[in-house]
Symmetry: C2
Subunit: 89 residues, 2 copies
């Protein structure tokens, strides 16, 4: 029973981490960020960076790996959003 | 030293959880979901639901609380996205 619950944990981590991949691909391809919240991607990117620091402190490979991937994806989306906002001025 | 690193962990969790609040408010207010990825919100909502189940299994209040909040926010955004897609047909 414990095994199947651990599996749910791994699947949960994989889904929440990889979910940013379709968003990053869509954002980079279309460069449309009109309905993306700047507040969300600023807070989220900073939060994931802090998760990565926390994972490095704990030397927990799962936390480090998941957040390193998410950081690249979230930061890419944030970058396009900021470029669009700066371009509009 | 341990305290300050634990603090980083808490702050990281708070940031990544609450980051979905500005996005949910923006999406519900404007109902604009043009640049939101359906793939992202489908995977993310399912992932957060699985995190919640995993937290309930572990009886870990932090995992349960963070993911219950995120589930409501992510599911609200997904709902508007799906309504918009269905409305367009």
């Amino acid at each position: 029973m414990a095994f199947s619950y651990e599996f749910i944990g791994y699947l949960a981590a994989m889904l929440t981490t990889l979910s940013f991949l379709p968003q990053a691909i869509m954002t980079i391809k279309t460069r449309d960020t009109g309905s993306l919240s700047l507040g969300m991607y600023s807070m989220f990117t900073l939060g994931v960076l802090m998760w990565l620091i926390y994972g490095l402190y704990l030397r927990n490979v799962a936390i480090i790996a998941a957040n390193a991937v998410t950081l690249v994806l979230a930061a890419s989306i944030l970058l396009v959003k900021v470029q669009n906002l700066l371009g509009k001025r």
